[in-house]
């Protein structure tokens, strides 16, 4: 009951069991050939493409990692330099502070010397003055005494 003379289907050609051996024969041939193509051409090719892509991506990731490492290294260096500069700055500041103190002490010393000199000078002058006045008082009292004596002697 495959088909009539007009080549027109009666019922479902799918249920014509006389065609089954032929269909299955060609299907098996087709499957085997297709499987061989898949196994020996398609899969190696696709895996190769995929592996290449993977390799490049992995390479890029490794490169990025390397750059990241270098960046952190540079950052560390910068940190170190900064630390060094800071300590240097501290040193300079300390040094200049000491310098200022020293100079101030020197100036203080100078001023002290000057002051003591001034004081001693003033004391000298004072002493002079005092000595002068003592002499004057002596003289005056001598005069006064002679006047008194003369007055007394005259009154007698």
């Amino acid at each position: 009951m495959a088909s009539n003379s007009d080549n027109s289907a009666v019922g479902m050609p799918q249920l014509d069991f006389s065609t089954f051996p032929n269909q299955i024969f060609w299907l098996v041939v087709f499957c085997v050939v297709l499987f061989a193509i898949v196994k020996f051409f398609i899969i190696p090719r696709m895996e190769d493409i995929f592996a290449n892509r993977r390799k490049i991506i992995d390479g890029n990731i490794a490169k990025a990692e390397e750059i990241r490492l270098r960046v952190s290294e540079i950052e560390k260096q910068i940190e170190e330099e900064l630390q060094k500069a800071k300590s240097q700055c501290d040193e300079i500041m300390n040094a200049s502070g000491n310098n200022i103190k020293e100079q101030m002490a020197l100036a203080l010393e100078d001023s002290k010397i000057a002051t003591t000199q001034l004081i001693s000078e003033a004391e000298g002058r004072l002493k002079e003055l005092r000595d002068g006045s003592e002499a004057a008082i002596e003289k005056i009292s001598e005069e006064l005494a002679s006047v008194i004596i003369s007055k007394i002697s005259r009154g007698k």
């Binding site: 495959a2 009539n4 032929n22 269909q23 297709l34 398609i42 090719r45 696709m46 190769d48 892509r53």
Partner: protein
């Protein structure tokens, strides 16, 4: 034998296996229109997968994109459903997928022959899957494969009943698996052919059936891809049952 009708529509004629070289006699080795379309499918697959990706491009072109899309779609599907162990069977499942997909899609060409519309073809494929999965199940799990039918998570009283249901559904698998695909292919093509018959008979009024054909054709484009997908995903599900019968 011949039915006479006003429209003279023969929607099933497109499914007739026609020996092309040996005249009218159909021997098991005769080269038929079905074998021809299997050959065309083989050439198309080679074109897409081998010619299309011959340059091994890092950034794929159009054809290579299509090939990669299909390849990794099936690969990921197997991993999702059957796990990493399922990848061992990837070549078989991928062969099955492109065999059905290209058969379905090429079958939509006018004057073509859809080899996946034949129950002999889909039945053979489904039976192969069924037998292969059963063998894998017993080889991988030994007698433990039978735990697939003994649902340990169900109450004990229900288990014998579930056992019967599970056993029946297991043996119905190849039937539903094959008839789903062949039925979908046959129905869609037959409907298109019926509308085409109307269009031939209606003269100017043919615009309506032609519009209908266009709509059905659009639907069929969807169906052919989905059916190839469904056949493959069910194969993966069955494979998963064989690899992990304990659920």
């Amino acid at each position: 034998m011949e039915k006479q009708s006003a429209f003279n529509i023969h929607p099933m004629d497109q499914f007739i296996i026609d020996p092309m070289l040996t005249g009218d006699s159909l021997e098991w080795y005769s080269f038929t229109n079905q074998a021809l379309w299997m050959l065309i499918s083989l050439v198309s697959i080679s074109f897409v997968f081998i010619y299309g990706s011959r340059k091994h491009q890092l950034v794929p072109g159009r054809l290579q994109s299509i090939a990669e899309l299909m390849y990794f779609f099936i690969r990921d599907m197997i991993i999702d459903i059957a796990g990493q162990e399922g990848l061992r069977y990837f070549p078989y499942i991928f062969t099955l997928f492109i065999l059905i997909l290209f058969g379905n899609v090429l079958g939509l060409l006018p004057y073509s022959f859809t080899y996946t519309s034949h129950i002999a073809v889909t039945g053979f494929l489904a039976l192969s899957v069924f037998i292969a999965v059963t063998i894998i199940g017993f080889v991988k799990n030994g007698i433990g494969f039978l735990s697939l039918f003994w649902i340990s998570s169900a109450p004990l009283a229900l288990r014998p009943i579930l056992l019967i249901i599970e056993v029946i559904s297991y043996f119905v698998r190849p039937v539903s698996h094959s008839i789903r695909l062949a039925g979908n292919m046959m129905a869609g093509h037959a409907v298109i052919k019926v509308f085409a018959g109307f269009a031939g008979a209606l003269g100017l009024g043919a615009i309506a059936p032609i519009l209908a054909i266009t709509a059905v054709y659009g639907l069929e484009m969807l169906v052919v891809v989905i059916q190839a997908y469904v056949f493959t995903i069910l194969t993966c599900v069955y494979l998963n049952d064989a690899l992990h019968p304990g659920h």
